[in-house]
């Protein structure tokens, strides 16, 4: 993993990574501890709760051993599949988080606060679904990329509008991305009840063709699919773009100091529009991965707020693509494991939101963590996450 601040010596670099990881890790730990206290206060046993959370997100190691034994003895895969189901399901949940988190992180890098990921998510999903079900008779090699492209493009256009409004008229992107969210929600309400409604009375789209589905690696009910690896690829490409290309350098320069960037001859307007276009595309891909990989149709309540969680996630990942990968995995495991926690330990799933919220508080105020755990502050340049209202 490379570092944004690029220290000179190798040793310095390594300690830099550790200190970068230390605060988020301690924030997560503190969030879990406080979560445990909340569970305790509500009269349940936190050990049982976190045990179920762990088992729900990673699976039971004993089941895995048993599954492997059965597989090697008889060639029967059923037990084995059952044992890896929780783990694969966590990766499935992490996939949209990953795409959406990258979207918000990219915005932060350019000093833009993209709260519109949720709307872009919906638009991306609807575009992919439309291409997925309306075009028939294409081979998969053409149809699937086309459906993916449609989702990315839909989200990108949805993101570019606030980007353009900011660049051209100075309208603040926070306000405009929120407004675009509402337009997206109501638009999808209308589409699902009208033009995109499938036959029958349910307000949902038809299923996408099999040729537009992201291939799954295991038989039902395992839903683990290619989307996860596409998300990892996107994370790598974003890293490459931000840190290895001239354009990426411009984006980061504009984010760090727009005035200096302008003085250096960089085109601020073009960067704002470009970044919002790309960020929208990434959030759109989150919806695409969900519809083509998991659901195969879009209905009301298609998203559980991935776009909003993504803001927290990008902060936790320090807006670095690899950091986002780690935090998306964390959120995926928490969310997915919550099902088991809810069922086996009877803890409401809302506790996960509490833990996530606390983690974010600690991330936003790292001094609390430093004080709690007696960590001395390491002097280094902080990347500017976002500019205030006045910019």
């Amino acid at each position: 993993m490379s570092n944004t601040t690029a220290p000179n010596t190798k040793e310095k670099k390594r300690s830099g990574i550790w200190s970068e990881l230390l605060i988020p890790a301690l924030a997560v730990l503190s969030g879990l501890i406080l979560g445990a206290i909340v569970i305790l206060v509500s009269g349940e046993n936190p050990l049982v709760a976190y045990g179920a959370l762990f088992e729900g997100s990673f699976g039971n190691p004993l089941d895995l051993v048993e599954g492997l034994q059965v597989y090697f003895a008889t060639g029967e895969t059923k037990e084995l599949l059952r044992a890896i189901y929780p783990f694969t399901e966590s990766l499935v949940t992490a996939t949209p988080y990953l795409f959406a988190g990258l979207s918000v992180a990219l915005g932060f890098r350019c000093g833009l606060f993209n709260i519109g990921a949720e709307g872009q998510f919906f638009i991306g999903a609807l575009c992919s679904a439309f291409v997925g079900y309306s075009i028939k008779g294409l081979p998969m090699i053409v149809h699937l990329p086309l459906a993916i492209l449609a989702g990315a493009l839909g989200g990108a256009v949805w993101g570019m509008i606030p980007g353009y409004l900011k660049a051209r008229f100075g309208a603040h992107e926070v306000v405009n991305t929120i407004m675009m969210n509402w337009i997206a929600f109501r638009l999808s309400d209308w589409l699902l009840n009208g033009p995109m409604k499938s036959s029958g009375f349910r307000p949902v789209t038809p299923n996408v063709m099999e040729t537009a589905e992201l291939p799954r690696f295991f038989p039902d009910p395992l839903r683990f699919n290619l989307g996860f690896f596409l998300a990892l690829l996107a994370a790598y490409l974003l890293y490459w773009f931000l840190f290895k290309t001239t354009l990426g350098f411009e984006v980061r320069s504009v984010g760090a100091n727009p005035d200096a960037a302008k003085y250096a001859g960089m085109n601020i307007v073009r960067n704002f529009v470009l970044v919002m276009f790309l960020a929208g595309g990434l959030a759109g891909l989150a919806g695409t991965a969900q519809v083509l990989g998991v659901d195969h149709w879009v209905g009301q309540g298609f998203s559980a707020g991935y776009g909003f969680d993504a803001i927290a996630l990008a902060l936790l990942g320090k807006s670095h693509p690899f950091g986002v990968v780690l935090s998306a995995l964390l959120f995926g495991f928490l969310r997915s494991g919550a099902t088991d926690m809810q069922s086996m330990a009877r803890i409401p799933i809302d506790i996960i939101s509490i833990i996530q919220g606390m983690v974010i508080v600690f991330i936003a105020a790292p001094d609390i963590i430093r004080w709690l755990y007696r960590i001395r502050e390491v002097k280094k340049e902080e990347a500017v996450l976002t500019r205030g209202w006045g910019s």
Binding site: G51, A52, D189, W190, N207, V294, W297
Partner: protein, 353 residues
Amino acid sequence: MKKLHFVMAVFVVASMVLTACGGGAGGGDALKVGMVTDLGGIDDKSFNATAYSGIDKAIADLGIEGKYLESTQQSDYAKNIQQFLDEDTQLIVTVGFLLGVDTAVAAKANPETKFAIVDYSYPDCFGDGVEGQTCGSASEIPNVLGLTFQIDQAGFLAGYAAAGSTKTGKVATWGGINIPPVAAFMIGYEKGVDYYNEENGTEVEVLGWSNEANEGSFIGNFESLDDGRATTESLVQEGADIVMPVAGPAGLGGAAYCAESGSCMVIGVDTDWTVSASEYTDIILTSVLKNMNVAVYDTVKAVQDGTFAGGLYVGTLANNGVGLADVKGASDELKAGLDAVRQGIIDGSIATK
């Protein structure tokens, strides 16, 4: 201080390590029942809450082991059903038509497990529907019981009561989304008003729904209290003084408007709103009851007794599956009229749809 931090850290790490032994479920051989909610969540004071109260009652009366899983997005439906299957749950209750496809798929793959689905039934594949995709099943599934309700019967009574209580001569209704389970309330409602007019020579008008056009006012969702409030306000401005919102939680927006303006009364749906939304008791005329709790409880009991059979349960006025709560300020004449209508519907002499 430092020690405290250390203890807490150890505490959490231990919780992670101990997980391998954390899973063992107790409970012996009590019947295991699980319910999967739709997006409304378990505390929606309406649909899911009512269905679960049936399971709650079964836990108390029959000694079963019951629990629920909340869905926060559509991909949770299959996952939550799978969770119960993995725990060897014997009866899985799913709530709402949105779970129609996932329930059918799971039921076919697990013929030993019993399922019940509220507000849905099979076969549901007609025309160009594809089994397991756009619809659940083209045939009846032997291990699934569809819990449906002839809510038009109760809606009819509500329409009759509204027509007998209005002072402006106009009553109204509006819905969340135009789907059969919602429209059924409104169809019965208008029929009930028509019947009252015929009997008493009045000319009470219905706003927000027309059986002739098979169309009405819909806000397009079940969540937005703002939409509910705005629709109620516009119907009241057109002259209605009684409004029946068929939209789950969104209907409470209408109740809030009536409570603030004092210019209208509402008719609750699904549950008795004087209980579930008691802050609005003053402006609740009556409630159209869809006794999902009774249906769910009876289903659990049937599984316990070994008499469970798949197919279709239809809640009616006759079997107390649907009903009408007490009507506020009803005259003796209206009460007598309602009793007569109820009898007429049960013996089939009055058509409600």
